[in-house]
Each structure stands twice: as C-alpha cells, then as structure tokens.
C-alpha cells in the first residue's frame, strides 16, 4: 500500500520522541560543563615529563636528554638541549639532564610515539584537554617547567600503567645495586648476574635497555 513505508517511519520517530523522556538509551546528550564524561584510563592528550617527586621537579626529572624522542617524533615538535654537567639519576648512575626541553603543543598531535620509544619512562601522556589559550605563540610552547609533573600525578591518571612502570624501575634499581655490591666486594668467580630482560607482565612499552640508551 502506498503510504505504509511513511507510516512506519513516523512510528519510529514517535517511539524515539516518547523514548527520549524515559529511556536513557534514547537521550544521549551529556550537558558538558555541568556533567563531565569519565575519561578512560588509556586516554592520551599532550605528553608530560615525569619527575620522581613534586618538591624538586627539576632535580628529579627522569629524562636524561638522550634525544631519542626528539628524533622519533613524526612532526618534530620536541627540542632538547643537554646540560654540560652530570647529576646522579634514580639508580645512582651519573647522567646528563636536559637544560631545555620544549614541546610545541601547536604541532604535537598526541600520537604517543615519544612515550613508546623512551627507554627511561621519562615522558608519559597526559589527560588534560581543556587547554585553550588566547596567546597563539608563547602559550603553546611548553618548556620543561610547565611539562614536569610528579610521579604521583602519573599514578593518578594512569594507575595500572604507572604501577607496572614503578615495578620495573624498582627491579632495575635493585639489579643495579646488586651489581654495584658485587663489583664492590672481591671479584666472585661466577659471571655477574645478567641484567634483567623485559619482564613478562610489563606492557610492551619499550624493551628496557637496562639503563644504557640504545644507539
């Protein structure tokens, strides 16, 4: 019959009209400023530099200025200048640290390749997306002070990931101490314990290069 398709269409829209008053499935709008959507844990926006504690962010930056992320970043939006002197890092080894670490967030596309290739777990993805600014140039170029955030914050936004990373770093630190103890005591006959390879449960971030930057 000629009009039956049209009447069916009307029935569907009527069902949705009535449904939108009682069925949450049929009213999907989220009133943004008042109700905020819960971000999934894997959500990533712009990167940030992880520092061991909040008190002295510049002193305890995990980043050692190895510039791997600068080379691997597809749109080349990271700029690093190494320091002349060295300072001990978490495992006590003397490491260079970045004097200048800029990320141009107007170029960065949050693709998290820098996180993937960083052997030192020094850069992670943030979850802040309300970063509108009026100033187009300086405000979008974040220097290391604006980028640095404590490890506790990292635990806050990516709990499971942060836990695995801490477990791995702890293992490395213990292995480094044993090696140091073994080296300090007389030369034992047996060969030094092999440096711990990638432990199984870790998400395949990057094969931990045992502290020495890969070429």
């Amino acid at each position: 019959m000629l009009g039956s398709g049209l009447l069916q269409g009307l029935k569907v829209t009527a069902k949705n009209l009535v449904g939108s008053f009682h069925d949450p499935e049929r009213l999907t709008t989220l009133e943004y400023p008042e109700q905020k959507a819960k971000l999934p844990e894997n959500y990533r926006n712009f990167p940030f530099l992880v520092s061991e504690n909040a008190t002295d962010p510049m002193g305890t930056l995990r980043c050692v200025g190895c510039q791997i992320c600068e080379k691997e970043c597809p749109p080349q939006c990271i700029y690093i200048e190494k320091s002349k002197d060295k300072k001990p890092d978490a495992t006590g080894k003397m490491q260079v640290y970045p004097v200048v670490f800029d990320i141009d967030t107007s170029v960065c596309m949050s693709c998290q390749i820098c996180v993937e290739v960083c052997p030192f777990e020094a850069i992670k993805m943030d979850q802040v997306f309300e970063i509108a600014t009026k100033d187009r140039f300086t405000a979008l170029l974040l220097d290391r002070n604006q980028l640095a955030k404590p490890n506790s914050y990292y635990h806050e936004i990516h709990p499971t990931e942060a836990a695995e990373v801490d477990a791995r770093l702890l293992a490395e630190r213990k292995a480094a101490e044993e090696k140091a103890k073994a080296a300090a005591t007389p030369k034992p006959a047996v060969a030094p314990t092999p440096s711990p390879t990638a432990t199984a449960p870790k998400p395949p971030e990057a094969p931990a290069a045992g502290g020495t930057p890969a070429p």
């Binding site: 019959m1 000629l2 049209l6 269409g9 009307l10 569907v12 829209t13 009527a14 949705n16 009209l17 449904g19 939108s20 008053f21 049929r26 009213l27 999907t28 709008t29």
Partner: protein, 411 residues
C-alpha cells in the same frame, strides 16, 4: 461608507452555546473598550482591537512554535533541544528575535532594492490577511464574510507573488532558480488545496465559515461529533488538504525552495537579519492559517469533541486542535526526506488532483444517499469507502510503480 454592512463587528454568537462567563469574555472586553469612545468610532475601535489581538496572540504562538519545533525535533533525535537560554530554553524565541534584529541586514549591491525590501513585507501582509476570516471561537469571528473561504484562498494565492519578488530581486542565479521551483510547487499544489474543500462547500451549502461550523454541529450515535473528518470522503479530503497544506507552506517533504543541500537557501539566500526573520514569520503564519482552515473545515472549528466537554470555552478547543495539527507538521518534518521537483509536481498532478476530483463524486454520492437508513446505511458507508480506497490504490500503484524494497543475492 465602505461596505459598512459587510464589515460587521464581532458577531454575537448565533448558536445557543454555553453562556458561561468565559464564552462571552471576548465580547465583554470589546464592549468595555469600545464603550469609552464616541458612537461612530466604536466600530473602528472594535476592529483595531481584534487586529491587535490577532497579531499579538499569533505572534506569541509563532514565537512559541519556533521553540516547540526545535525542542520536538531535538527529542525525536535523542537530544534535549535548546535548554540553555532561560529555564527550559523558554527565552529562546526572545533570543532569536534579538539576534534577528541586531544582525546586519546585507543587501547585495546589484539587487533591486525596492523589490528586495518589499518582498518580505508583501509575504507577511498576505499571510496575516488570511487570519481575518478564521473563527477562533464562538464569539471570536474577526470578520463575518459570506464568501469567507474564497477570501482565504484569494489572500493565500497572492503570496506566490512575494516569493517571486524575493527570488528576482536578489539577482542571484541560485535564488532565481529556487524562486521558479517555489512557484511551480505553489501553483501545482493550489489546485488540490482548493479541490479538497469543494466537497465541504457542496455539503455545507455555504461559503461562510460559521455556516460550515454550524453544519458540523450535533452528534451521531450520541457521542461521535458530526464532523466532516468522520465521513470517508471527509477523511480523504482531509489527507489531501494536509498534503497540499504542507506543500503550500514549504514544509518538510516539500521544503524544496530552501533545499539546503542543493540551492543553499533558495530565494532566501540574499536575505539576512530581520528580513530573513520576517520570511520565517510569514512561513509560520501560513502554516498556522492553513491548520486553522483545516480545523474549521474538517474538525468542526471550535466545537468540543464530546458532549460533556462543552463547558470548556470554545477558543480553548480551537487552540488544542491547532496545537495537535502543528505538532503533526513538526513530526512530519522530523521524519521524511525531501521530494525532487519533478516527483513533487507529478505527485500533485497525477495523484492528488485526480483523487480530489474523484472525492468530489464520492461526496456527491454521499449527499444524495443521505436519506438511506437502517441496512442501507451500511451499504452507503461501504460504497463510499470503496469509492475512496479504490482510486487511491489504483493511482498509488501508478505513482510509485517501480519503487519497491528489493531483495539481494549473496555471493
């Protein structure tokens, strides 16, 4: 004096009607206001009062309608619709009004300035003229004309002129193409619109609105009102009238002139600011006037649907029916895609006009056999229904012959 006798002031209700205070309220107001002025001026004051009342009330209904439309479309599409301005978005019409007023009114340099300015004014004038004859309530008949229905369509027909002026004055290829489309659509749907109400005139025996409403008075079998929509030919005429009304007011399946996906905004491309708002007001007034007409012709004007509901004042019933029809218009806008120009004119000439003509015959048969009673009554109903359904199915097959949902094979 100009036709002093024909422009009679608000008529006192002829019918018995409940004399409740609410029913006579409009008359009381008119008499008190007119009483202040000297005798010769009283007619003038009465008319201006009704004009002011119509423009104010229907201006308000227009404002409310824009909000209701956006809220209802939103709800159909699983979203709440405007709810930021005012408590439930209630201040949205005021916000739209201010926006329309403050927006810059750009007139293209090569446009025909006089016509460009005159087009929205003419369109709005013609569509407001049509409100003069619609009886909103028992005592709310602005103008009691003997040939009221003809007056209504005369005013409606002139609005095509305004659309042509708008399309032509913008001197823009798109708006000229769209103005041509709009005219083709309006002219081809004028015929079904007129033909669908001719059977009503034939059976009611009069062209005046109050006469038609009186012809629909009384109840069948105790509680079914004797409205024309409850007769088979009346229902068919009502459907044709609604389809044609949709096309006349450029509403959803027929909103071809403002087909955004093709010709940007049709003949409204070169309008902005308050002129654009005027066009919209004219479109909504046209829609309200046509639904008012449909109510008067088919749904018994301001009559209550059930005998024991007579205590509610008549203009409340008119308002309720108007609301139902307007919501139906919005509901259709939220559901159907748009017809192409050739399909649209083919629907008018090859489907609606023949159906309306056949309906004329059915109504004639209905009026001739009004004497039948008892068993013959059933025969009469069956025959009329057959005379309505038969041509519908035959013409329908011709219209969408090849279009059928298809079945698909799988590799």
């Amino acid at each position: 004096m100009i036709g002093a006798t024909s422009f009679s002031p608000l008529l006192l209700a002829a019918g018995a009607g409940a004399d409740s205070f609410l029913e006579r309220l409009p008359l009381v107001i008119r008499d008190t206001v007119a009483g202040v002025f000297p005798a010769p001026l009283q007619w003038l004051v009465g008319s201006t009062l009704s004009i002011v009342a119509i423009v104010a009330i229907f201006g308000g209904i227009f404002a409310g309608l824009t909000l209701v439309e956006r809220k209802m479309l939103g709800r159909i599409q699983n979203r709440p619709g405007p709810n930021r301005t005012g408590p439930m978005g209630l201040l949205q019409p005021i916000a739209d009004g201010i926006k329309a007023l403050t927006k810059e009114d750009i007139v293209p340099r090569s446009a025909d300035h006089l016509l460009h300015y005159l087009a929205p004014v003419a369109l709005l004038a013609f569509s407001i003229l049509t409100f003069a004859v619609i009886p909103f309530g028992r005592n709310l008949v602005p103008l009691e004309l003997d040939a009221a229905v003809l007056y209504f369509f005369a005013a409606g027909a002139a609005s095509e002129l305004a659309i042509f002026m708008a399309g032509w004055a913008s001197r823009n290829k798109f708006s000229l193409l769209a103005a041509m489309r709009a005219l083709a659509q309006l002219i081809s749907y004028e015929l079904p619109l007129l033909l669908s109400f001719v059977p009503i005139i034939m059976l009611a025996g009069t062209l005046s609105m109050t006469g038609i409403i009186d012809a629909q008075a009384g109840w069948q079998l105790g509680f079914i009102p004797r409205w024309y929509i409850f007769t088979p030919w009346g229902f068919a005429a009502f459907v044709i009238f609604l389809i044609a009304a949709l096309a006349e007011s450029n509403r959803s399946p027929f909103d071809l002139p403002e087909a955004e996906s093709e010709l940007i905004a049709g003949h409204l491309t070169e309008y902005s600011g308050f002129k654009y708002a005027l066009f919209f007001m004219a479109e909504y007034f046209g829609m309200i006037a046509l639904s008012g007409m449909a109510i008067t012709l088919f749904l018994g004007g301001w009559r209550a649907p059930l005998p024991f509901l007579e205590f509610i004042p008549s203009y409340a019933w008119f308002g309720a029916k108007l609301l139902v029809l307007l919501l139906f218009f919005i509901w259709i806008r939220g559901t159907f895609p748009r017809l192409r120009i050739d399909q649209l004119t083919r629907l008018a000439w090859k489907f609606l006009v023949p159906l309306a003509l056949v309906n004329l015959g059915t109504a004639a048969f209905w009026s001739l056999t009004s004497g039948w009673s008892g068993a013959l009554q059933l025969v009469r109903w069956a025959l009329t229904i057959a005379m309505v359904i038969g041509p519908f199915v035959l013409l329908g097959r011709g219209l969408s012959g090849t279009h059928r949902p298809r079945t698909y094979r799988y590799a």
